[in-house]
Symmetry: C2
Amino acid sequence: MPRRRTASPPVSAPSGDGPVTLQMVAQAAGVSASTVSRILNGTAVVSQGKKQAVDEAIALLGFVPNPVARGLAGGRTLSVGVVTQSIDSPFYGVALRGIEDELDRAGYSPLFVSGHWNASEEARCIDMLRSRRVDGIIVLTGRLSDAALKHTARSLPVVATGRKLRAPNLYSLDFDNFEGARLATEHLASLGHQRIAFIAGNSEHPDANERLRGYRAGLEAACIPFDPELVGAGLFHEESGMLATERLLDTRRRFTALFAANDQMALGACLALQRRSLRVPQDVSVMGFDDLSISRYSVPPLSTIHHPAYELGQYAAAAMLCLLRGEKPALRLPEPRVVARESTAPPVAASARS
Amino acid sequence: MPRRRTASPPVSAPSGDGPVTLQMVAQAAGVSASTVSRILNGTAVVSQGKKQAVDEAIALLGFVPNPVARGLAGGRTLSVGVVTQSIDSPFYGVALRGIEDELDRAGYSPLFVSGHWNASEEARCIDMLRSRRVDGIIVLTGRLSDAALKHTARSLPVVATGRKLRAPNLYSLDFDNFEGARLATEHLASLGHQRIAFIAGNSEHPDANERLRGYRAGLEAACIPFDPELVGAGLFHEESGMLATERLLDTRRRFTALFAANDQMALGACLALQRRSLRVPQDVSVMGFDDLSISRYSVPPLSTIHHPAYELGQYAAAAMLCLLRGEKPALRLPEPRVVARESTAPPVAASARS
DNA sequence: CTGAAAGCGCTTACAG
DNA sequence: CTGAAAGCGCTTACAG
């Protein structure tokens, strides 16, 4: 839509058609566009009088700066890209909410894209976000290499979760998965369980390995020998938890407690147990990890390790905001803690499987 | 970053610093920027030779058009705004995934914003999306008035779900909530239940009212008198389903089946029932609505009405794509259907509550 | 303190 | 078919 130089002053009525531009505000306030821009951005000191006139014009016209133009001209778009893995993940969804809330408070908006646990897709996401001129990028775990992350941090601030990574312009937030799993195992052991099965998560996932290590450490601390026959392989979703439990049961190796590397698998495990007429917790105690909101309403309510998903997102966003202001973030995630509900109890001597 | 007219030709090496611009491509191909733009957009017929040269230059330089500039200049940003209510909703999350997938196929990206079931927040979302120059807006249900939606459709294509609304440049996609609820009730009645309680959803929510109507219609068809004492008020989340069930139980009004207006409330109901030592389905059959992915793994697996969330999103996006091409969408959502799992069964004569 | 001007990277009438 | 130019709505050196 070229050829529309504002030869004749645009209708500066509040309800003129088309959005109000900075130009119009400048005109209404009797100053130059530069001045309006400076006031908007707090870029320079401006005389009281002009500032007032401009503020009034802005209010009167209901002017809202166009982020697109802003991004093109100045580089800042007031948006931050968020690479998540799946837009409908029950765990990360809460983190997205945390990001949204925290960013909103500072006038930024998130741009959510899904990497589907695939490094090359995540790389495409980052290219896309960069082409949309986001001011920074938050990467929720994922499979990108640390090197790739450091690389993008050379041109854009990045905050990553699920890693311990230190680099200029890059902050990472890591939850103590090891400690969480250790606590879960300790909880079960302290209840008196000696035979504690484990359903591991996807082994390509860093969290999965940490949780397995935590399980082993918990066992060791309780002087329970590690039995590889008691660990099943899962994929972090319900179905896999159900299947792994069935396989564990089929080995006829006995166990009185089962710790799944996340709640989704624990829920699947509960169903498998019920299908074999094993009661939770009377016959088998079940422990999850993550503390999804639904876990509180499962039958029975699931004991688990609280994983602060909302804070994860919120802190990641706060860290990004710091980086954007040129400050150094110093945020730490809450420590894991046991949420004991009704799916865990002391083993019953006369249990069906003991 | 003014004052950098390309007096000296920019380094057109593929790995020159900064992103490759259309200018650079034009230069490398020996044509004008206009021509490159036309080829990119298929806006005009261009001679074979030039087209080839440009295509090669694009490939060589790895040029990717800047959507921000594109949006400013031409109006199209290849992005569509999506007003959802909460970024972590278990039901709408799946719809977001459908939108993402469908849009991606056409080279568009979604911009997700949350309205939190609040008309004024939703209005802010729409302003924000418009200021970001999205090409169209998808509104997932929400509380905006039909008039407001029609109004925004005057300047931007809009697709809405959860309404039956016809207007120029506006398409709406509505799931048959009434029929779904009728089917659910029929399912219960055909199993032999005569006393069917109902937990309604938030009455400001249009779906909630349709589902209540469907319940009543189902009752009527089965010649079961409607008993207002048997309907509890819920808020569409687990907690409210649990509480409503407890209240229902406290009235000591007997019922052998319970139909909740969504799965989340049904899950809460199951827990409440279990707490009172009532077994599902032996003592009380429980039916949900939505068919969330977790419902398949609850204990017992929940019978429900399948609500095609993924298709809801996918079709909404497809409809938007149609509108954007100037075509008339003609998409219809799949009909509701009963998914009978293990939480429903014929009433037992000797049931604790019958 | 403040304005005029150039520029961000594209698109699209306008003229050949 | 194709180029030069103006414009999208801002920002920011450059000069007062």
